[in-house]
C-alpha cells in the first residue's frame, strides 16, 4: 500500500511540475524584507509614517482610500501618529459636510472621525481625469492583487522603456511587472521626490517599500493583533494537546490496545 501511495504521489508531483514548467511565464517579483511577515511580524512604525507621507503626497491625488478614517492613523498597530499629529493631518483636508439648517452643503476642516478625503467625486470623474482608467481604491489593494505586497513593490519600480517592436498608445506605459506589461499609470516615483520628515533618504526603492508597507497596514489594520493572538492561541493549543495526549494514553492503558 505504501509503495503505491509513493508511486502515485510521485506521478502527481511529476505532473504538477511539468504543468508548472509549461505555465512558467511568471515574472519573478523583486524581493525585500517585510517586517510584518513571520510569526511575530510587526509593522515598522517609521516605514508606516513615511509610507503615509508618500501616499498623501503622491498617490492620493488619484487613488482614494475610502475605508480608512483619520482616526485610524493614531490606532495601535498602525502608523501610531500622536492624536495631535493626526488631528493636524485631518484638519489639512477640506471635507464637505451638511446639509446645515439652511439645507446647504458646506466645507469644513477634517476631523479624526472623517474618512480619508477622496480625490474624485465618483468613479466616472476619476476615469475622465485618467484617460478612461480608474485608479483603484487603495484600502485593500495589498490583498486584492495576486503577489500582494511583492507585486506592488515591484510594480512601482518596474517601469522601463518598451522592448523593440512594442508600440505604446498615448497615455500607456511599459511596466515589466504589470499583467500584459501595459499600464495607464505613468512612473510616479523618482529619487528625492518626497522629503522625508525623519531624514531617511528617499530613493525610489525606499519609497516603494514604505508606501507598500503602508498599503499592507491599510488592508490589514489588525495584523499585529492577529499575529500576537495567533502565537498565544497556538502555544495554548499545543500545551492543551500535550496534556490531553497523556490523559488519553492513561485512559487507554486500561485496555490492551495501542492508541
Amino acid at each position: 500500500m505504501n509503495k503505491f501511495l509513493k508511486i502515485n504521489l510521485f506521478i502527481y508531483f511529476i505532473l504538477t511540475a511539468t504543468c508548472n514548467a509549461l505555465a512558467a511565464e511568471k515574472v519573478e517579483y523583486l524581493k525585500t524584507d517585510w517586517s510584518f511577515k513571520g510569526l511575530f511580524g510587526k509593522f515598522d512604525r517609521g516605514s508606516l509614517q513615511r509610507g503615509y507621507q508618500v501616499y498623501t503626497e503622491v498617490c492620493s491625488s488619484c487613488h482614494s482610500m475610502k475605508y480608512l478614517s483619520y482616526r485610524n492613523l493614531t490606532e495601535k498597530g498602525g502608523p501610531e501618529f500622536t492624536e495631535d499629529q493626526a488631528k493636524a493631518i485631518a484638519a489639512s483636508f477640506e471635507v464637505t459636510d451638511g446639509p446645515n439648517a439652511d439645507g446647504e452643503m458646506f466645507k469644513r476642516p477634517g476631523k479624526l472621525s472623517d474618512k480619508f478625503v477622496m480625490p474624485y467625486e465618483n468613479v466616472k470623474a476619476a476615469q475622465a481625469a485618467n484617460g478612461g482608467a480608474y485608479p483603484p481604491d487603495m484600502s485593500v489593494l495589498a490583498k486584492a492583487r495576486g503577489g500582494g505586497v511583492d507585486y506592488i513593490y515591484s510594480l512601482l519600480q518596474g517601469y522601463e522603456d518598451p522592448p523593440m517592436g512594442i508600440t505604446l498608445d498615448e497615455g500607456v506605459y511599459y511596466n515589466k511587472f504589470m499583467y500584459g506589461n501595459k499600464i495607464k499609470m505613468s512612473n510616479q516615483l523618482s529619487d528625492g521626490l518626497v522629503e522625508y520628515a525623519d531624514g531617511t533618504v528617499s530613493t525610489v526603492e525606499q519609497m516603494s517599500k514604505d508606501v507598500t508597507t503602508f498599503l499592507m497596514w491599510a488592508a490589514e489594520p489588525h495584523l499585529e493583533a492577529r499575529h500576537r493572538m495567533g502565537f498565544k492561541a497556538i502555544v495554548y493549543l499545543i500545551i492543551l494537546t500535550t496534556l490531553v495526549y497523556f490523559s488519553m494514553k492513561r485512559i487507554w492503558s486500561r485496555i490492551e490496545t495501542e492508541v
Binding site: 509549461l22 492577529r226 490531553v244 490496545t257
Partner: protein, 420 residues
C-alpha cells in the same frame, strides 16, 4: 436504546419516564465502539466541531453583514476594521469553510478505503452524500456574500449552468437570479439560503449519527462485531478523549491558517468589489470545488458537462451497489487498495487542472482524469468484486492481536494499520 437504564434519582426517573433524555445521554456515553478505530475515524467529531463553529461565527457575522449589492462589500470591510474582533470571526468563518471541506474529504475517503458505505450502512452513507451536497451549496452561496469579483463571477458562471437544461433553462436562470443578471435579488436570496442550509445540515447530521448508532461503527478490520464485547470500548471516556485529542491537533492547523495565512485559500480578486462590466481573467471556484469544476470543463458540450459534473457526485450515492465485493476493508483487498490510491491521485489531479486554464495539456489531462473517475466507479469496482482474490479476514478484532491466531491476515493487518 438501552431500555434497562433507570436514572438513580427520583426526579430523574420521573423526568425520564416522560422524556427519555437521560436514557439518550446514557446511550451516547455507553455506546459500544470498536476499540481498533484509528485516527481516520476522528473526523466525524471534527466535522461536528466545524459545523458548530460555522454556525456560531456565521451568526455573529450576520449581525453585522448587510445583504445589499451596494453595501455588502463595505459591510465586510466594516467587520474587518471596526467590529471588535470582527477580523477574527470572519477569518475563522472563511477558513472554517476550507477546514470543513478538508475534514469532509478525509472522512469520505476513509469511508472509501474501509468500505464503510456497504451494507448495513447504506443509509448513513447516502445521508452523508446529501450533507456533502448541501455543504457545497452553502459554501458556494457563502462565497458570493462578500460581493467581490470572484463572488459575482463565480455566481454568474455556476447559475448559468442551469441554462444548459433544454427548453426551460433560460427561464430557470432568470428565476434563480430574480432578474436578468446576478444582482441584488440574487444576493439577498443567497444570503437567506446560506443562513438556512447549515440548519438543514445540522438536522441531517442528527439522522447521520442516529443511522450510525443502529449498526454501530465500521472499523479498520471491517468485520461485524458483537456489542458490547471485548472488541468494543464505551464511547465515553475512550473515544471522547481520542476524538478530543485529534480535534485539538486539527485546531492547531486551523489556527495557523486563521492567524498566519488567512487569505491564502481565497482568491485575491475577491478583495475587488463586484463589477458586472469587468470579467476577471480566470474565474476559479474555491479549491474544494475544483475537481468537479475540472470535470465540468472537460466535456465540450455544456449540457453534457453539467450532467457529467452532477453524475460525478451522484455516482457516490450508488456506491454501495456499484462495489460488489463482500469484503469491506481495503486492508484485505490487495487489488482494490491499489485502485483506491489511483483514485485519490486522480481526484488530486482533477483538482489541480481545475485551477488551471482549460486549454492544451491541462484540458487533455482533465479529460483523461474525468474518464478514469467514471471508469473507477462504473467498471473497475463492479468487476473487482468478482475477480479479486481477497485475504482471509479475522473473526474478531481481539483474537488476532491477543491470541496469536494462525490467521495469515494478522501480521498483514497490523502492518497495514501501522502504515496508515
Amino acid at each position: 436504546m438501552s431500555e434497562e437504564y433507570t436514572p438513580k434519582s427520583k426526579f430523574g426517573k420521573w423526568f425520564n419516564d416522560r422524556l427519555p433524555l437521560l436514557s439518550l445521554a446514557n446511550h451516547l456515553t455507553d455506546y459500544p465502539t470498536p476499540k481498533n478505530l484509528n485516527y481516520w475515524w476522528t473526523f466525524g467529531g471534527i466535522l461536528t466541531f466545524c459545523l458548530i463553529t460555522q454556525i456560531v461565527t456565521g451568526l455573529v457575522l450576520a449581525m453585522h453583514y448587510i445583504a445589499h449589492a451596494d453595501m455588502a462589500f463595505d459591510s465586510v470591510e466594516h467587520i474587518m476594521r471596526d467590529v471588535n474582533y470582527g477580523w477574527l470571526i470572519r477569518y475563522i468563518h472563511a477558513n472554517g469553510a476550507s477546514m470543513f471541506f478538508l475534514a469532509v474529504y478525509i472522512h469520505i475517503f476513509r469511508s472509501l478505503f474501509y468500505g464503510s458505505y456497504k451494507a448495513p450502512r447504506e443509509i448513513i452513507w447516502i445521508i452523508g452524500i446529501i450533507i456533502y451536497l448541501l455543504m457545497m451549496a452553502a459554501a458556494f452561496m457563502g462565497y458570493v456574500l462578500p460581493w467581490g469579483q470572484m463572488s459575482f463571477w463565480g455566481a454568474t458562471v455556476i447559475t448559468n449552468l442551469f441554462s444548459a437544461i433544454p427548453l426551460v433553462g433560460e427561464g430557470i436562470v432568470t428565476w434563480l437570479w430574480g432578474g436578468y443578471s446576478v444582482d441584488n435579488p440574487t444576493l439577498t436570496r443567497f444570503f437567506t439560503l446560506h443562513y438556512l442550509i447549515p440548519f438543514l445540515i445540522l438536522g441531517l447530521v442528527v439522522l447521520h449519527i442516529w443511522a450510525l448508532h443502529v449498526p454501530g461503527n465500521n472499523n479498520p478490520v471491517g468485520i461485524d462485531i458483537k456489542k458490547p464485547s471485548k472488541d468494543t470500548v464505551p464511547f465515553h471516556p475512550y473515544i471522547v478523549i481520542k476524538d478530543g485529542f485529534a480535534l485539538l491537533m486539527f485546531m492547531i492547523v486551523f489556527a495557523f491558517f486563521v492567524f498566519y495565512t488567512p487569505n491564502i485559500l481565497g482568491h485575491a480578486d475577491n478583495y475587488i468589489e463586484a463589477n458586472p462590466l469587468v470579467t476577471p481573467a480566470h474565474i476559479v471556484p474555491e479549491w474544494y470545488l475544483l475537481p468537479f469544476y475540472a470535470i465540468l470543463r472537460s466535456v465540450p458540450d455544456k449540457l453534457l458537462g453539467v450532467v457529467a459534473m452532477l453524475s460525478a457526485i451522484f455516482i457516490l450515492a450508488a456506491l454501495p451497489w456499484l462495489d460488489t465485493s463482500k469484503i469491506r476493508s481495503a486492508v484485505f483487498r490487495p487489488l482494490y487498495r491499489q485502485f483506491y490510491w489511483i483514485l485519490v491521485a486522480d481526484v488530486l489531479i482533477l483538482g489541480y487542472v481545475g485551477a488551471m486554464p482549460a486549454e492544451g495539456l491541462y484540458l487533455l489531462i482533465a479529460r483523461i482524469a474525468t474518464a478514469y473517475y467514471f471508469l473507477h466507479f462504473l467498471v473497475i469496482l463492479p468487476i473487482l468484486g468478482y475477480k479479486e482474490k481477497t485475504l482471509p479476514v479475522p473473526l474478531s478484532i481481539t483474537d488476532p492481536i491477543l491470541g496469536g491466531s494462525p490467521n495469515l491476515a494478522t501480521a498483514r493487518n497490523k502492518e497495514s494499520l501501522s502504515n496508515k
